[in-house]
């Protein structure tokens, strides 16, 4: 028996019951749990403490077909609905949040090409992207353009013969930076704030593309985040995804889906913290009984369960709307808001349940609490989610 297998035996198994739409998607969840138990769980603690990006894990997940689930089978994808893909993300997050975020970012970075790329571009690039042989990053934000996408100032100038773009600017908060093989990058090709944006798929080895120092983050240590600096980087015009001026439309369409990825990941993270809290509460004894036998604490666990379940229900509802081809912008924002606020609350409460032990790095809940905070911030802050929801309500 391998060392990894025996080490994983002590970990809490994923307890969530899932109603999957097909037998093969149920098997897919089993496969994901097997990978999580044997490949992710034994490594997460050491890798996060050392801030190591586990590039090989993405190859393993790619070989298993987990990086391509929502994309068409003809390009090597799994042809799975979002309802299935997101539950796989949740399962990954339960074992390793950084990897779930990295997987979600990778999937998001494939979105532009898969949905509006030309047939030639898809045939050339998509199979390697979906298999995980090529890892993706997503460059939307800039130092002065975050929630306000129309403020993007990274400029792409087309050469006189039209064969290439020269790109100049800085992209901020880029996950997978330095490890990704391609950067799905939103650039300004025209002056109109919204209609002047375009999408370029920039190879990592492009001259003029470099990286800032790794951000010193509160959590998600195994998700490398850096600035991507484009210093007159020359990009082949064949790497323009969609038409010039379609950038905003592509970015916004991908955002709804990306938010669901984060909602699913936050749910897995929260479930993981809850599982640790339950196990600890049943084991830890004070005043001659398990602390779980105190109703004050048991009710805390009940509230945590309700919060996790609410987040899960919200993202599954939005996913099912998406899969049915219905509008889901409002529901995706609700799911992102509900699931990430739940993750923050549940991980904080998990630290409380574990008491002093929870505050130490010898237990995983302090890491989960740190990892949870960013879910309220990225893919649109939760204030932006409220803006999206209220605008949808009042339009």
């Amino acid at each position: 028996m391998t060392e990894a297998t025996s080490a994983a035996v002590t970990l809490v198994a994923m307890p969530v019951q899932r109603l999957m739409p097909t037998p093969e998607s149920a098997d897919l969840i089993e496969l994901t749990r097997d990978l999580a138990r044997r490949e992710l769980a034994p490594r997460v603690d050491a890798a996060e403490k050392a801030a190591e990006m586990p590039r090989d894990v993405y190859l393993t997940l790619g070989e298993a077909g987990l990086l391509s689930l929502p994309y068409p089978e003809e390009y090597g994808g799994g042809g799975q609905p979002y309802e299935v893909y997101l539950q796989v993300i949740e399962e990954i997050a339960h074992a390793w949040m950084s990897v779930a975020v990295g997987t979600s970012v990778h999937s998001l970075s494939c979105y532009a090409l898969a949905t509006v790329g030309s047939e030639t571009q898809r045939k050339e690039l998509l199979p390697d992207m979906l298999s995980g042989r090529l890892l993706g990053a997503y460059g939307l934000s800039e130092p002065d353009a975050g929630s306000d996408v129309s403020a993007i100032s990274t400029r792409a100038r087309r050469s006189e013969d039209g064969s290439s773009y020269t790109v100049r600017g800085r992209k901020a908060w880029i996950s997978n930076a330095g490890y990704a093989d391609f950067y799905t990058t939103f650039v300004r090709t025209g002056d109109d704030p919204t209609r002047g944006l375009s999408c370029l798929l920039i190879p990592a080895d492009t001259d003029g593309l470099s990286f800032g120092a790794p951000e010193r983050k509160m959590g998600l240590a195994s998700d490398p985040v850096r600035e991507v600096v484009l210093d007159d980087a020359v990009v082949d015009a064949g790497r323009l995804i969609g038409e010039e001026g379609e950038g905003m439309k592509i970015a916004l369409a991908a955002l709804d889906s990306g938010r669901l990825g984060i909602a699913a990941a936050a749910t897995g993270l929260a479930q993981s913290a809850l599982d640790v809290a339950i196990a600890y509460a049943k084991e830890r004894r004070q005043f001659g009984r398990a602390i779980a036998d105190n109703q004050g604490l048991a009710f805390l666990l009940a509230d945590m369960e309700a919060a996790v379940s609410s987040g899960r229900t919200a993202y599954l509802y939005a996913a099912r709307l998406r899969d049915a081809g219905r509008p889901f912008t409002r529901e995706a924002a609700v799911a992102k808001l509900a699931a990430t606020d739940a993750a923050m609350k549940v991980t904080t409460d998990a630290v409380q349940v574990l008491g002093g032990a929870g505050y130490t790095q010898d237990f995983p809940v302090e890491r989960m609490m740190r990892d949870a905070k960013v879910t309220q911030i990225f893919e649109g802050t939760n204030q932006i989610q409220r803006l999206v929801i209220s605008r949808q309500l009042l339009k």
């Binding site: 198994a13 093969e24 496969l31 393993t60 298993a64 077909g65």
Partner: protein, 259 residues
């Protein structure tokens, strides 16, 4: 090269193990899976066939849920599966299991190679491979950590405590492999989709021409009289090293008659 891999559906070692009233292992009410040691045999078979040609058939003897073990092997890449299932098999010992497996292998055809794992992860007796080889009249190369098939022979290395043996046999042969031989692949989602279309046959004892009186609990050579949970581990003795740690350790070992 046609290969038959014998696999077993075992209770998940992570779950609680329970027993039936007749002191046999409860397989119906616990989560089970493909014995992890059998994954190495499946992987070894897939590697051989992928390097050349032929097909891999997986066979199991077990209750209805044992189909899950076959499904996993098919998802990894095996071509087809045979499930021998019959209520009369309940409680069978290794002798009876090897009889049923032998008849199943004969009915599948005459494979060039029969592969098994080192042992099951529940019974851990390691005797079925040898018994099966005897019943099939095949040379047996057991517990190898390397495997090479070429020119009508099979070669393998068996690592013992004192020596490593290089073994060779003519094909057809039976080989059992250890967990050192390879790194079993995970199924892929493509494999999961493909497995849905692969043939799985279910055979009864009658299909194999095996008399029900030869198998099952009543025919078993050994019976479990009773069982008891292993007592929980007691807390160990912690010795603080105050410069005399070595002495204290030696005294402890001497007291336990280890030195």
């Amino acid at each position: 090269m046609n290969i038959v891999v014998c696999v077993k559906y075992v209770p998940d070692a992570q779950g609680d193990r329970t027993f039936n009233e007749d002191n046999t292992t409860d397989r119906a009410n616990v989560d089970g899976l493909l014995s992890e040691l059998d994954e190495y045999a499946v992987e070894a078979a897939l590697k051989i066939v992928e390097a050349g040609e032929g097909e891999v058939t997986v066979v199991t003897v077990g209750p209805e849920q044992a189909a899950d073990a076959l499904k996993k092997a098919l998802q990894m890449g095996a071509d087809k599966a045979v499930h021998v299932s019959d209520e009369a098999i309940h409680g069978s010992d290794a002798v009876a299991t090897s009889l049923v497996l032998a008849e199943a292998v004969k009915k599948i055809g005459s494979p060039d190679l029969v592969l098994t794992g080192l042992s099951s992860t529940d019974g851990t007796m390691s005797v079925v491979p040898a018994m099966l080889a005897e019943r099939l009249g095949l040379p047996q190369v057991t517990q190898v950590s390397t495997l090479e098939v070429a020119d009508g022979t099979v070669k393998g290395r068996r690592d013992g405590d004192a020596v490593s043996e290089s073994l060779e046999a003519s094909l057809p042969a039976l080989v059992s492999v250890t967990d050192q031989i390879n790194e079993p692949r995970y199924p892929s989602f493509k494999g999961i989709m493909a497995a849905k279309k692969k043939p799985v046959e279910t055979w009864s004892l009658a299909d194999l021409g095996v008399d029900a009186g030869q198998v099952g609990l009543d025919a078993a050579w050994t019976k479990v009289e009773s069982f008891a949970q292993r007592p929980p581990r007691e807390q160990g003795e912690i010795v603080t090293d105050e410069g005399d740690g070595g002495t204290k350790l030696a005294e402890f070992l001497a007291a336990q008659k280890f030195v």
